[in-house]
């Protein structure tokens, strides 16, 4: 068996998170774009999706083939079986998971995948749990980062009579365990959102006090030793109905960077992450969420000269975190997201649905790509 290549620029890399709903796209297509546009990258990109209509799987200019995975609820063993089927079709050098719900399974099978020559840069289970939404106040206290209190709910009657003496007052924020958050202003609205979140993501539903302010986000890599690699900071300029960034601008906020450093030192995080913070009207930075993967706006990192998915592959290839060279942050570089149709033959959709696999016949040569 030949020695695995340490030149990440030729690697075959699988990326999940290929769904691309306009109001809440997965990060996978943006991660693929970062790698495809990374200088010197000439490898093969494989999309891994959960639905036949995950648009990223059909983006021929970036993805060479696509496969469907079993839903995370099927468990780690089923995931490994499916990955073995995919590996029998095409060997992979690395996998970049991009969705929160699938991470526990990928963490579980990381060692087995390593034995198969597939690299991942992931936190361990304890680190993943330490940044769970309901545990953020404890993490914030350890890292000296202000964090709104969190309460787990299984009963919506909480909203009928708020305990104002205990500091609960309208408006509030109700959140799902994995995704989605809504600002609610009264009991009726709160009950409605509670029901929606419970139906989609299960229990518990989380509730927090609402903090008025501007959202500022930071995306980077954790080196697993408590250090931060390649931070890109962003302020949202325009939002979708779900509060996702439709447009954003790179900023250079020393206080945000320092808070991220303290959180990484406390977590000793390994892999990509996104910090969601709010700068309140009092000027205080509040930690809202730590997402354990690249965000959907990660292509901005390439635009800012700090291609984080490429940096992740460099780390997987054995480069020391301290050896990675990043240009200074470029405040003012902005992104504006747009929705674009991918024209697909119905036969491709049916093939993917039936067989779980799709290959784009594409020849890539230096500087040119030909689709068949």
């Amino acid at each position: 068996m030949s020695r695995p290549s340490q030149d990440w620029r030729g690697w075959r890399v699988a990326i999940t998170g290929m769904n691309a709903k306009p109001e809440n796209p997965g990060p996978g297509a943006a991660v693929a774009r970062c790698l495809r546009e990374a200088p010197g990258y000439r490898g093969r990109l494989v999309g891994l999706g959960y639905e036949a209509l995950d648009a990223g799987l059909y983006q021929r200019q970036r993805i060479d083939s696509g496969y469907l995975l079993p839903y995370p609820s099927s468990g780690a063993a089923v995931l490994l079986d499916r990955l073995d089927e995919i590996l029998a079709e095409e060997p992979l050098d690395a996998i970049l998971p991009c969705l929160d719900a699938e991470l526990p399974n990928f963490i579980h099978v990381q060692a087995e995948l390593a034995q198969r020559g597939v690299r991942l840069l992931l936190p361990d289970r304890e680190q993943l749990q330490a940044r769970d939404k309901d545990r953020l106040p404890a993490l914030g206290e350890a890292a000296q980062v202000t964090t709104p209190r969190v309460r787990q709910l299984t009963d919506p009657r909480f909203f009928d009579a708020l305990d104002e003496a205990d500091g609960w007052r309208w408006p509030l924020v109700v959140k799902g365990v994995f995704y989605d958050a809504y600002v609610v202003h009264g009991p009726e609205e709160a009950r409605l959102r509670f029901g929606q979140l419970a139906a989609q993501w299960g229990y518990p539903v989380l509730v927090q006090p609402f903090v008025a302010g501007e959202e500022v986000n930071l995306c980077a890599l954790g080196d697993g030793q408590g250090g931060l690699v390649g931070a890109v900071m962003m302020r949202k300029l325009a939002l979708t109905e779900k509060g996702k960034a439709w447009s954003g601008v790179v900023i250079d906020d020393p206080e945000l960077l320092a808070a991220a450093g303290r959180l990484m030192a406390a977590l000793r995080w390994r892999g990509p992450f996104e910090l969601e913070m709010l700068r309140g009207r009092d000027g205080v930075l509040h930690l809202v969420e730590i997402n354990p993967r690249f965000p959907a706006w990660v292509y901005l990192s390439h635009g800012a000269g700090r291609n984080l998915p490429a940096a992740l592959l460099e780390l997987l290839a054995g480069s020391a975190a301290g050896s990675l060279v990043f240009p200074p942050p470029r405040p003012g570089v902005s992104f504006i997201r747009y929705a674009e149709e991918v024209i697909v033959d119905m036969g491709e959709i049916m093939r993917l649905s039936a067989s779980g696999a799709l290959t784009h016949a594409t020849t890539r040569q230096a500087g040119t790509t030909t689709h068949h």
Binding site: V216, R235, L237, V250, I251, D252, D253, P254, P331, G332
Partner: protein, 84 residues
């Protein structure tokens, strides 16, 4: 008006373009400055204080120092509020 060290730091966070657009690299907010404000901000970013701004504008605009001083004070308070 005293330019505090914190305000001085924040003034230097403004990336100023020749067309009067100023981008706050820390917050991501953008501002439009007229020509007088552009010249005044450059004085402050180079380490000058409010008296230096007043002196520059008195010469340039041929206005009474008291008038200029009142205008500069108002503008600095506005600037401080934007950068807070």
């Amino acid at each position: 008006m005293l330019i505090t060290p914190e305000l001085q730091r924040r003034l230097c966070d403004l990336s100023l373009q020749a067309d009067g657009h100023a981008f706050d690299v820390r917050t991501g907010r953008g501002y439009s400055l007229n020509a007088t404000a552009v010249e005044s901000l450059r004085v402050l970013q180079q380490g000058g204080d409010s008296d230096a701004v007043v002196g520059m504008l008195v010469c340039r605009c041929n206005q009474h120092p008291v008038v200029v001083q009142a205008g500069v004070l108002h503008w600095l308070q506005q600037l401080e509020g934007c950068l807070a």
